[in-house]
Symmetry: C2
Amino acid sequence: MKKRVGVAILGLGVVGGGTYKTLVSHRDFYLKTQNVDIVVESVLDKNRERLQELGVPEECIANSIAEVVTNPAIDIVIETIGGVGIAKEFVMAALKEGKSVVTANKEMISKCSHELERIAKRNCCGLYYEASCVGGVPIIRTLLDGVQANHITEMMGIVNGTTNYILTKMAQEGKDYAEALKEAQSLGYAEFDPTNDVEGFDSTYKLSILSSMAFHTKVPYTKVSREGISTISAQDIANGQDLGYTMKLLAIAKNSEAGVEVRVHPTFIPSEHPLAGVNDAYNAVYLRGDALDDIMLYGKGAGAFPTASAVVSDVIYAATHSEIKYSTYKNTAAAEGDVKFISNFSSAYYMRLFVEDKTGVLAKICGIFSKFGISIVKIMQKGNTRNENGRLPVIIITHKTNENSVKNATAKINASGLGTVEAVIRVEA
Amino acid sequence: MKKRVGVAILGLGVVGGGTYKTLVSHRDFYLKTQNVDIVVESVLDKNRERLQELGVPEECIANSIAEVVTNPAIDIVIETIGGVGIAKEFVMAALKEGKSVVTANKEMISKCSHELERIAKRNCCGLYYEASCVGGVPIIRTLLDGVQANHITEMMGIVNGTTNYILTKMAQEGKDYAEALKEAQSLGYAEFDPTNDVEGFDSTYKLSILSSMAFHTKVPYTKVSREGISTISAQDIANGQDLGYTMKLLAIAKNSEAGVEVRVHPTFIPSEHPLAGVNDAYNAVYLRGDALDDIMLYGKGAGAFPTASAVVSDVIYAATHSEIKYSTYKNTAAAEGDVKFISNFSSAYYMRLFVEDKTGVLAKICGIFSKFGISIVKIMQKGNTRNENGRLPVIIITHKTNENSVKNATAKINASGLGTVEAVIRVEA
């Protein structure tokens, strides 16, 4: 017997529109392949034009959230509004009426998942959010149902398409940041106010969601160290390439006996690393588990249909698994206080300095590094282009050290009169 | 309340041993993170030394399959014996007693899944085989529960680590096939009799399993066109590199209105394609869906622990999903006769010829291609190394054409006295 499942869609923006179209055009396909008849019963959006443009039938247009959540024909509510305000209000209303919720809302899930999961659990319904991270790439399903045999020890992700597009253009075409950003904006890859993407906030939300799930704990987004790409120079990217490194804005999470470290920052990785070849608006997540070793999932991280793929796959999952799998409620499991977060994390470093053109200067600078316990792999003059003070460019690559040592050494050098540290970029192996 | 699940392991080879170790060492971890206590109740292997080496307690050593399948404490039976004979017999015995089965056996699943799935269905138990394809990479879970919103239109996989290792060495170090094979054998990547891997049989089994699932139909392994790598020359790999191509042994499946095409053969792909960077013993599967566009999953395709990761993840899935999801039974859905298979498939081609060193020969050869409706993108003399008949090497790249036309043109050229076709390699965009 075919099962009938009624769904509502809240918000017909890019993702909501793609979801509506996918559900309507694939209804027969799901009936045939999944044995379930998924019917869009109700759509809520205040933009009448958009409703008409998508051809939503009059009888499916809802006038209020109350009408949606009290409709007994609706089993699953899809939230594609975004942000925390009204989206959260609507999701809570749906969960309280026992409707399972599928959402693409990374900000809401990152900020409120523990609260929402408690409500879902209490009302015996599900909360699914595959679409909140990395578009159509099923990274959350993989963490929940594909690699759950593993202690996940490490995760490195390119989880923001805007910044990856900008960095790719800077690397491949030598463009500077402002120029690459402008191009990304003109193509619709970056917003008019790009802050959320370029300063790493978006990646921070996603890392909080993914690392909470990977580490079976709660990683609040506020615990993520964050640095964006707006101060990155094309020169540093090119210097990195010469040294065999590719620059990516990585979302990094590590889990060990010592604690959890979570950070989003521009990172040099070896150019032969699988993540180094992830270009343009593509996203990827690289995972390390104690049994599986390393895997990577790669794909389109955004866009109407790739994201709709994740939303609708969650809807099908919810529709075809009659039991609620409480282990999806990762964020309620551990109290925040139980987790030790490491802010003084370890890394290797690339540093670019301008130094005085005098004999013995490099030796003195090496002395400062040594004083802070930092070993140097490589120190080299890089080109002859002096800065306005007549100082010469020097690149230093360090062995693994830690944030505090590098900050202290940087302050000491800047105060020494020997030179100035112009750029500090973490290097991951 | 914690749930208790008893498992048995049949066969303690590489994967069985890795599975045993993983289940024992992670028992507390699964209890904590999955709310399920997975207990190895019984192990069946005739090798006493291996049982001792792994420290299997005396009371867990079974003496017969009957003892295992009639043990009421056992819920899930893990089959890691391999092959079709005794493995199939044991799996059938378990399913008939209502035990769910988790297996890593690609040959058995490829050849018998429809039969086994019917038995599983009749006895209300599950049949899980994530570990049969691509080691720890959760490609089957992805197809079932991660991208099921999509019509999957295309799949291209590097699903055999042995051949990928050999081709990587040939490409990176210019080694010839025999030398690279010997190295792979000495490292344990290739078996003493490497036929199953190098001639593409292993990839054929996996493609049959994955394409059946992706296309919601039954793709018998006997329908897969197969060509191995044993006749590939380092020269062709190097020529491809000069033209911007990387050679991989790909398992390709395409699904369209016209029918299904499935094939395993050495393939040139553009060197910037995500699959081109998958080197050594790594595997990857590249998928195209109508909503999600393209994604790729990458990881270790073999080895004790990566494969154990897939086995144990299936065990956890079976243990934490109380309902049997009948949509996993893909191979029972469609009768073989319903599917139209395309054997005269379309592709672009790389061809290497030795031709007579006479004016007008290339024009005549181009005429033969033209006669068979094949358009040429590029024709060029490649080097000056004549063969024993004093003929010169020529490379031809064709536009998209089809198998039959290329076979006919090849026969015609070989019979013409103008030259001989030495290598034909398909090119995918």
